[in-house]
């Protein structure tokens, strides 16, 4: 098992004919992901190295039955593409696109909940989802991750690679790596993904990498204490970030007194979640917890 993507994934890609889209689509296919089609209005009937292109999500759904959509189109068109994929019945939409206006994200989030509750959105502005050994949907460099029992969920791409690499070097692997993205209104939250890992048979421990801004980490702390039996190790980036300054990610801005790294770390620690102070320390704690349980087991 793993979460979100695996050997049953049937992927179709919006924006597959673009430079970035084609590069990563083929990369995902090379990894073993079953890529069944692409959607680019006006380019229906063409193909990318044998992968058929359709004009609309409805046509793609009818012809090749994707259960997963990846969105690579520019920010101005991304919201409509996500909703079109949902309307065509695609169950999982992974939106890589960076720079979507916050109000478009707000509209997408609320329309999905009301009209298409069967569709789950990961992202936007995220690196995607990788289940090592099974499928890769997005831009996560798979070489740094081995198959294993650690579930990783993160708001940041490169930080995820850094932590995953440290875990791999310590001899452990991952069930799935989920990037939820650094934007103000992500389609899925830490809580949503932690729930999936809690229910996943392969995952024994979760690493959650948060950052300043918003209250998603605090909400995760409450959820972990109330609903989760598997251990979670956390990391928060942005202790040195000054208030009112945006640190690259649109969501990473501290307003007023809430949303600071210190407040988030405290909220998690109060609920018994161990928080590593550096990515390296996070990996060490994860290994310690896993190693400990392995020794304790008969």
């Amino acid at each position: 098992m793993a979460v979100l993507v695996d050997e049953h994934t049937r992927l179709a890609v919006a924006g597959m004919t673009g430079r970035e889209g084609s590069f990563h689509t083929l990369n995902n296919r090379r990894y073993g992901t079953n890529v069944v089609g692409g959607v680019t209005p006006g380019k229906g009937g063409q193909d990318l190295e044998g992968i058929p292109v359709f004009d609309t999500w409805a046509q793609a759904a009818q012809q090749v039955q994707p259960n997963t959509a990846m969105i690579f189109v520019p920010p101005a068109f991304a919201a409509d593409s996500i909703l079109e994929a949902a309307a065509a019945g695609v169950a999982l939409v992974v939106a890589i696109t960076e720079g979507i206006p916050a109000q478009d994200e707000l509209r997408v989030y609320n329309v999905l909940r009301r009209r298409y509750p069967g569709t789950r959105l990961i992202g936007p502005n995220c690196p995607g989802v990788l289940s090592p050994g099974k499928a890769n949907v997005g831009i996560i460099p798979a070489a740094f991750f081995k198959q294993g029992n650690v579930g990783v969920v993160s708001r940041s791409g490169t930080l995820t690679y850094q932590i995953g690499n440290e875990i791999a070097q310590a001899g452990f692997g991952c069930s799935s790596i989920v990037g939820i993205g650094g934007d103000p209104v992500p389609g899925s939250s830490f809580v949503d993904v932690l729930e999936l890992f809690q229910a996943d048979g392969q995952t024994e421990l979760m690493v959650m990498a948060g950052e300043i801004g918003g209250s998603a980490e605090e909400e995760a702390a409450e959820h972990i204490a109330a609903h989760m039996s598997k251990p979670v190790v956390a990391y928060i980036a942005g202790f040195t970030a000054p208030p009112g300054k945006q640190m690259g990610h649109a969501g990473a801005i501290i307003s007023g007194t809430s949303g600071t790294a210190a407040a988030k770390a405290q909220a998690l620690e109060e609920k018994g979640v161990r928080v590593g102070r550096t990515p390296t320390e996070v990996a060490h704690i994860a290994v310690e917890v896993l190693g400990g349980s392995a020794i304790a087991a008969p």
Binding site: R155, L159, A216, G248
Partner: protein, 387 residues
């Protein structure tokens, strides 16, 4: 992107919110002529993106030309908490019967827009929230339906406004919500929203932040950025498409990916150092981009040492190494560099760097080791052999 008061008021007026007419000026002579056209008494208001203008002496009433000259002379060029006043907004002084507070913002937790309203305006809203939480009305709006006039009137009534201005306040709230949606704002705030003795409802101040990601829909709003008060290096970075934020320390930082750079700042601080900047080189760091980044970091005279922290995912580490070598060919930096390269093509990247044998460049294998080295170098302590 934060707007100055007068720019926010221009957006308000565009959407039917009543504001006092006035003029933005940059010299004393312009101020005098503007005041004559507007008619006395006038209010002169410093246009800076920082609170506490009034206390700092940046807001003054003037009854005649002599006072306009005096106040305009004092306020223009004034430094208000690090922000130099380049622009004055002059408007007709308003008589005030009541002061309210109104705002529309994104509630990230609820994933809905939030309207906040209070009849206790004119003071800091955090203060109202603490001292009179019952007097701060908070209501979510269905983003797919928008703010109806009925809901706006309900908010006004719940906020305890005088009954004869419920309609006026409801209209103002509907207009404010329209500003928020139509202009792609992340915050639209009025403090105070006043009622005049003639019972007119009017915005006396404006605080608007626009979503930078939505500017492609609003080309006319691009010009509103406060370039005058932007840090010069930050402005240059924005023009070159790099994410740079100036900080107060002496260790220059470059990394790839916002999360990893934030994490790098933290690790340097934990090692006892003080970062001079946040700089995200993003994915695909070619030689030109790396050279630009190095120049930006060194444009800050406070920098005593620089840390390059690269974890290559999509970014190829050998490309970053080539960029760094090319940059050193052009710039010849006078401060030491610590370079930590890991990830895609890291072996090649480190080999290139070793072969180039750059003066004053040290390599580290891990983030923690790199942070300790750069902190030592910034404080003048020697570290192991250079690369």
């Amino acid at each position: 992107m934060d707007l100055l008061e007068y720019q926010g008021k221009q957006l308000f007026a565009r959407h039917g919110l009543k504001v006092s007419s006035g003029e933005a000026v940059t010299t004393v002579e312009q101020a005098v002529r503007a005041a004559q056209r507007i008619g006395y008494p006038v209010v002169l208001k410093a246009q800076v993106l920082v609170g506490g203008r009034g206390k700092a002496g940046g807001v003054k009433l003037a009854g005649g030309e002599a006072q306009v000259r005096e106040h305009a002379g004092n306020i223009l060029g004034m430094d208000i908490r690090g922000h130099v006043v380049h622009t004055l907004w002059i408007e007709r002084a308003s008589d005030i019967a009541s002061e309210y507070y109104a705002a529309v913002l994104l509630d990230r937790s609820a994933k809905q827009p939030l309207v906040m309203f209070s009849s206790e305006g004119g003071v800091d809203i955090e203060q109202i929230a603490q001292s009179h939480p019952e007097k701060l009305v908070r209501e979510h709006v269905d983003p797919l339906a928008g703010l109806s006039r009925e809901q706006a009137a309900r908010i006004a009534v719940a906020g305890g406004v005088d009954s004869d201005v419920v309609d006026g306040v409801a209209d103002a709230l509907v207009s404010l919500y329209e500003v928020w949606t139509a202009e792609d704002a992340t915050l639209a705030e009025i403090n105070p929203l006043i009622v005049t003795p003639e019972r007119e409802v009017r915005a006396l101040d404006a605080k608007v932040s626009l979503d930078g990601n939505a500017l492609f829909r609003h080309p006319e709003n691009r010009a509103l950025a406060d370039r005058e008060n932007e840090d010069k290096i930050e402005r240059r970075a924005a023009e070159e498409g790099l994410q740079y934020v100036k900080l107060d320390g002496d260790i220059g930082i470059l990394g790839n990916g916002a999360g990893l750079v934030m994490s790098t700042l933290d690790v340097v601080a934990q090692a006892g150092g003080s970062p001079a900047n946040f700089l995200d080189a993003g994915g695909g760091s070619d030689a030109k981009k790396v050279a630009q980044a190095v120049e930006l970091i060194l444009a800050n005279d406070a920098v005593k040492a620089v840390l390059f922290n690269i974890f290559g995912g999509i970014t190829r580490v050998d490309e970053v190494a080539r960029g760094l070598i090319a940059a050193f060919g052009q710039i010849k930096p006078s401060v030491p560099f610590v370079v930590r390269l890991d990830g895609t093509n890291d072996v090649e990247g480190r080999k290139l760097l070793a072969e180039a044998d750059l003066p004053n460049v040290y390599t580290a294998r891990t983030m923690d080791e790199a942070a300790k080295m750069v902190v030592a170098l910034a404080s003048g302590r020697p570290v192991g052999a250079a690369a």
